[in-house]
């Protein structure tokens, strides 16, 4: 191994009785990556996250976090998480909740101030948690997660139940934070979040990874991209284009040609170097369409 991975899942299976929530996931995440774990509800995202956090044990396979067992990585503060909901006590104040976290991690009082500031809740430190809005509670969870200054931060559906501005503020804070080089994994079923904030998107469905790459790659993988170009006499090129590897369909409309392909780079290279094509453009479908394409057989299967 040339580099120590932030997270390494190797053939991980998680069964709950007869239900297989995670069905053979292998995944390596490098330090510094911002990874979206994207998939519909019940895809196995939360089960996967739970195993990375040592909250549950895989039925098969192994999970390592910075080369350590997850429980150990959690105890050392290498990894922390912002969970979807719950996990707060109503009769603690915001400040006390963070202080308790500091006490548990053995971190000094200044650290409490620092993370309250960072999460933007220093002004409501004396407010009871039960009196905080959903967005404020989520920022409190974020502050708690930041407290041990983790190498890896995991966010499980972090913006569920937030309004648009709350969501925006939350992601700005995360974005700001990721700049310091922290590894971030977030589970989401909001496509636009994965598209906007992740360097890498891992598509999960029915407990398996069905696609893994940059948002752009995943979009292309799912539905391909379309190359459109102006090509006088396009009909003559139709057969040659159709014969190329990875080409799904070719449409000729007068002097323009539309090629749907998995590898549009090859198609573009061919068009520009071997033909008289001009005004070439490559159009990706958005992640939403990719998402539907990847998950659509759920209906037919």
């Amino acid at each position: 191994m040339t580099e120590r991975m932030a997270v390494e899942l190797d053939g991980v299976v998680k069964r709950f009785g007869a239900v297989t929530a995670v069905d053979g996931v292998s995944l390596a995440i490098r330090p510094g990556e911002v990874v979206a774990l994207l998939g519909p509800n019940g895809a196995g995202k939360t089960s996967t996250v739970d195993m990375v956090l040592g909250l549950s044990e895989p039925s098969q396979g192994s999970v390592r976090v910075y080369g350590r067992a997850p429980r150990e990585a959690v105890a050392l503060g290498l990894v922390s998480a912002v969970m979807q909901s719950g996990g707060l006590l109503k009769d603690y104040t915001v400040g006390e909740t963070v202080r308790l976290t500091a006490v548990l991690f053995g971190r000094p009082r200044e650290r409490v101030e620092a993370v309250l500031e960072r999460a933007g809740i220093a002004d409501i430190r004396d407010r009871l948690v039960g009196k905080c809005s959903g967005g404020q509670q989520q920022r409190l969870r974020f502050a708690m997660a930041l407290l041990p200054d983790p190498e890896l931060l995991i966010l499980d559906e972090p913006t569920t139940g937030m309004d648009v501005s709350g969501r925006h503020d939350f992601w700005s804070a995360i974005r700001e934070d990721a700049r310091s080089g922290r590894t971030v994994i977030f589970a989401t079923h909001y496509l636009e979040e994965a598209d906007a904030y992740a360097d890498r998107v891992v598509f999960v469905r029915r407990g398996r990874v069905v696609a893994d790459g940059t948002a752009a790659e995943v979009k292309a993988l799912a539905s391909g991209r379309t190359v459109r170009a102006t090509l006088p006499g396009a009909v003559e090129q139709e057969a040659a284009l159709r014969a190329m590897a990875g080409v799904d369909s070719v449409e000729v409309r007068g002097d323009s040609v539309l090629v749907h392909a998995k590898d549009t780079d090859e198609v573009a290279r061919y068009l520009l170097t071997r033909t008289a094509a001009r005004d070439l453009e490559i159009v990706a479908r958005n992640l939403e369409q990719a998402f539907i394409a990847l998950t659509s057989d759920e209906v037919t299967a």
Partner: protein, 259 residues
Amino acid sequence: MTTVVERSLPRWGGFSLGMIGLELRRMVRNRRTVVFTVVMPPVFYLLFGSSASYRSERLDGGGNVAGYVLVSMAVYGAMLATTSGGAMVSVERAAGWSRQLRLTPLLPGAYIAVKLVLAMIVGAVSVLVALVVGAFTGAELPAAAWVECGLLAWVCALVFAAFGLFMGYLLPSENVLQILGPVLAVLSFAGGLFVPVDQLGSTFARIAAFTPVYGVGQIARYPLTHEGNLWLAALSVVVWTAVFSVGAMWRFRRDTARV
């Protein structure tokens, strides 16, 4: 990351005075708990134990009947306090807090230890308040018995800290105390805290001896009454503590395996 963070595990699995302090502050903030554990027992004493006749009626070993009732109420208070201390885990599980704590270095054993210490602190306050109220309102005990009865009531209440933990892990309720309140009242009645068991017939008295409160009451009142079999009472306390601890461990293991 540019800054290198010193990473080490906390001592004692995360058990710390800092955590106890914060938890105590939270407990005191909950009015229902305070009323239930600190106010109710002395009020019961004032209502049922401090009448003129109880104050004038002397006991053989010194002190008056009011003092006898007071010790019983101190036991009752310690029991309520320690039970509710232990039962806090139920609320915390319901809120997902236990799960949150598993994302920290806190070891499950240290968490239980913190809960037990808290239960015993609140138990001590409860006993102390009851005794002070009693002392100012006509309860009389031999000088040494004040200390001995109070200490014994407090120490033996450890049974109920274990009971509270067991119930806390067993009952999924947010309002576990609303269930446990009546249960404790029935147990106190059966164990002779409210009415001496021999006033309720011999069959009842025989059954009562096997209930969890009986032994605690007998031991706590012993410095005052020098009555009954201390060894049997001690056995009762030990056996019930073991039963509840085993129950709590059993549920606790299932809980940590599941979450």
